[in-house]
Symmetry: C2
Subunit: 415 residues, 2 copies
C-alpha cells in the first residue's frame, strides 16, 4: 500500500524537485548578488557623503524608468499577493532587474529603505519566468510564486523557516493555509544555502540567554507586554502614515516620476533637521564607530529615545515617494530602537527589548505573527521564545488588521 502510494507520488515529487532546485538556486544567487551590491553601494555612500544630495536625481531616474518600462512591476509586493490569490496578467520578468536597480539607486543616494521587498520581488519575478518557460498550469503557478517569495525572504535574512511561513501567512490576515508548505520550505532552505554558498553572511544579533530552567519572571513579562502594545501601535502608525503619505504624493504630485524627486528633497531636509546620517540607508552598517545601527541597538544604552520616530519618518517618506527596497529592515530598526528606549525606561534588558521590538513591529505591520515568532527564534534563539511569542502576538493584536500590504486579504469565512 505504502509502496504504491509512494510510486504514485514519485513523478510529482521528481517534477517539483526539478522545478524548485534550479529556481531556489537562481533566487539564492540573486539574493547573494543583491546583498553584496547593497553592501558596496552603502560603503560608496559612506565614502562620498555628498551622494545624498543627488537623492532627488536618483529618484527621478527610478521614477522615470518605472514610468517608461515598469508597467505592472510598480505594483511590487502587492502585485505578487494579488497574482497568488487570483492569477491575472502575471508577474512580469522585468520586475527583478527593475527592483534590483531601483533599490541600489535608493541606497546609493541614502534613501531609508529595506531589502526584503527587493528579494521577494526578485524571487517572485524569477519564479514567474520559470512558470512561463515551463508552461505550468494555474495551480502550479500559484505554488511556484509562493515558493519564489519564500526563497527571496528566507535567503535575504538567512531565516529559512520564517521565509516559508511568511510566504504562507502574508496572503490572508489571521490564517495560514499550508497546501504550499513543502515547496515553500524547500525553496527557502535551498535559496538560503545558495546565498551562504556564495560566502554572503548575515548579521548576527546577540541576546543574553536566560539561564536554562530559569523560572519565569512575571515582572519582566509585564514589561514585555506593555512594550509590545507600543510596538503594535508603532506598526499601526507606520502603516497608516505610509498609506496616507502615498495618497498625498498621488494627490499633490500627479506625475509619478516626480514623486521621488520631491521625496528625495524631503529626505535631505529631514537629514538637516535630524543632524545625523544615521537614519539614511539600510541602517545595518556603521558609517562611524558611534553610528546608531541595528546591531548597536542591541548593545548601546546611550541611543536617543527618539531614534525610532526619526527612522520611521525617513522611511515612510522615502518609500511613499516611490523609492524601492521594502519596509522590513527599517521596521526592524524602528522596533529595535523603540525597544532599546523602552528597555531603558522600564529598567529591562536592552538587548531583549531590542530583539522583541525588532520582530514584534514586523508582526504588527505585516500581520504575520507566526512567521515573526519563527524569525525571532531563528535570529535570537528559542531560549527567549516566550518573550518573542508574547511580543509578536500582542503587537499583532494591537496593530489592527490593516498592515503595510494593501493587497493582503481578510479571511472570507470562519470555520
Amino acid at each position: 500500500m505504502i509502496a504504491a502510494a509512494a510510486q504514485a507520488r514519485l513523478p510529482s515529487i521528481l517534477r517539483w524537485t526539478a522545478i524548485l532546485v534550479p529556481l531556489a538556486a537562481v533566487v539564492g544567487t540573486a539574493s547573494a548578488f543583491f546583498l553584496w551590491a547593497l553592501d558596496a553601494v552603502t560603503r560608496l555612500r559612506f565614502a562620498n557623503p555628498w551622494l545624498l544630495f543627488l537623492l532627488p536625481v536618483g529618484g527621478l531616474l527610478v521614477g522615470m524608468i518605472y514610468q517608461r518600462v515598469g508597467k505592472s512591476a510598480a505594483g511590487g509586493n502587492n502585485l505578487l499577493i494579488d497574482e497568488i490569490h487570483q492569477p491575472g496578467a502575471g508577474v512580469p520578468r522585468r520586475m527583478a532587474p527593475l527592483i534590483l536597480f531601483g533599490t541600489l539607486v535608493t541606497h546609493l543616494f541614502g534613501g531609508s529603505a529595506g531589502r526584503e521587498g527587493t528579494a521577494v520581488q526578485m524571487g517572485g519575478s524569477i519564479a514567474a519566468a520559470f512558470a512561463r518557460m515551463l508552461a505550468l498550469d494555474a495551480a502550479s503557478v500559484r505554488i511556484v510564486l509562493m515558493a519564489g517569495v519564500a526563497a527571496g525572504f528566507g535567503s535575504i535574512f538567512g531565516t529559512p523557516v520564517a521565509g516559508a511561513v511568511f510566504a504562507l501567512e502574508v496572503l490572508v490576515v489571521g490564517r495560514v493555509q499550508y497546501d504550499a508548505l513543502i515547496p515553500c520550505f524547500f525553496a527557502s532552505l535551498l535559496a538560503d544555502w545558495t546565498c551562504r554558498f556564495w560566502g554572503i553572511g548575515h548579521t548576527h544579533y546577540q541576546i543574553e540567554l536566560l539561564p536554562p530552567g530559569a523560572l519565569p519572571d512575571p515582572w519582566l513579562m509585564g514589561k514585555v507586554m506593555l512594550a509590545s502594545a507600543a510596538f503594535g501601535l508603532a506598526a499601526l502608525l507606520f502603516s497608516t502614515l505610509s498609506h496616507r503619505l502615498a495618497d498625498a504624493f498621488k494627490t499633490y504630485v500627479p506625475r509619478p516620476e516626480l514623486r521621488p524627486v520631491v521625496g528625495g528633497i524631503l529626505v535631505i531636509a529631514l537629514f538637516f533637521l535630524a543632524g545625523t546620517s544615521d537614519y539614511l540607508g539600510l541602517g545595518v552598517l556603521a558609517e562611524h564607530p558611534d553610528s546608531i545601527t541595528l546591531p548597536a541597538l542591541f548593545t548601546s544604552t546611550g541611543i536617543p529615545a527618539s531614534a525610532w520616530a526619526w527612522k520611521l519618518l525617513f522611511t515612510v517618506i522615502t518609500l511613499s515617494a516611490g523609492f524601492k527596497g521594502g519596509e522590513v529592515t527599517p521596521l526592524f530598526f524602528i522596533g529595535a530602537a523603540l525597544g532599546n528606549a523602552l528597555g531603558t525606561v522600564l529598567g529591562a534588558p536592552v538587548d531583549l527589548f531590542a530583539g522583541i521590538g525588532f520582530v514584534a513591529i514586523f508582526a504588527g505591520a505585516t500581520n504575520t505573527p507566526l512567521a515573526s515568532i519563527f524569525l525571532g527564534m531563528e535570529l535570537f534563539g528559542a531560549e527567549n521564545g516566550l518573550y518573542i511569542a508574547t511580543a509578536c502576538i500582542i503587537a499583532y493584536a494591537c496593530s489592527g488588521s490593516k498592515g503595510i500590504y494593501s493587497a493582503q486579504r481578510l479571511p472570507s469565512s470562519h470555520n
Copy 2:
C-alpha cells in the same frame, strides 16, 4: 483614534482576562497534580512489578467506570475537537476526573500510554465548566475550549508556544486559523507558569548544538530527509494500526468494559514476548539504570533497533483497548527510538536524530507540522531549527492526511 479604539476594546480585554487567568491557573494546577501523581504511580509500579499482572483488573475498572458514568466523556480528544467545530451537547465536567483516574490506573498497572490526552481533556473539561458557570455564548465557548486545550498541552510539556499553536492547528488538516491565537497563547503561558510554580519540572533533552554560523551540511540534511520519510511512515503505521485495532476490539469484544481486560492480557503477553518492562508505562522514568527511556534515547547507542516497533505495539494495544492517557509521549518515544536506530545506521548524530524523530512522528500522526516545529525549538533550541523543520514537514507529508484524531477535519475550501 488609538485611545478611542483602546477604550472600546478595554471591556473585552478585561472580560477575557477575568476568564482566562483563573482558567489557566486551574488547568495548570491540574496538570501539576497529574504530573506529580503520574510520577508517584510509576514509581509505585517500579517498586512492585507484579502490579502489571493486575492490568486486566485495572482495565475492567476503567472500562466499567466509563461504561457506567462516562457518557460522552469516552469521546476524549475527538469529542473536544467536535465541540470546538460545532457545539453539541457540550463537554461534560466529569471528563476531567474520569480521564485523570483512568490515566493513573493505566500507568499504575503498566499500560503503555501518554499524558497529553489527559492534560488536554482536563483542560477542555475545566474550560467547559467555566463556560457553563459564566453562561458564555457559543462563540466564546469555542474560544474557551481551545484555550483549555492549549493550557493543557502547554503545561504538560512545558512548551507554551507549541501548546497554543497545537490547539489552533489540530482542528483542521492543512490550515491554521488564528482568531483564538491570543486567548490560546495566554492560557498556555499562564498554565505552564502555574505548573512550574508548583515545583513541577519537565524532562530536559540535550542535543549537541551546531557551532554558530556553521555552514549547512547537505550530506547530513540528506540523511535527515531520508529518516524523516521513515518517521512519517511510522506515524502512518501508528494511526492505521490504532484505528484498525480499535475497530477489531469493537467487533470481537462487543462489551466495552471488557475490551481493556483483553487489552491488558495482550500487553502482559507482549511483555513476556519482549522480555523487558522498558516498553510499559510512559517511558520517561528509568526503572533500572540501563532501562530504555525517552532521555536515554538521546544519549545511548546500544539501544536495540526494534525498540520503536515494540513501543508502537505496546501502545497501540493499550490505547485501542480503551486504556487512557493519550498517544503523544509514546509517539515521542517511538520517534526517538527510530531516530536513534536510523542515526546509528546512517552514521549521523544519535541525539539529533532522536530529537527530530521525537517531533517528526508527532507532526505526522497529529497533522500539526507548525506546532511540532515550535515544540522542537522549545525543547531542543532553535539552533537545530532547520533539521527540526525539515523533519516535521517531510513526516507530515509522508504520513497521509488521516491522523490519530478521527474528528480532525479536512479543509473544506482552498482560497
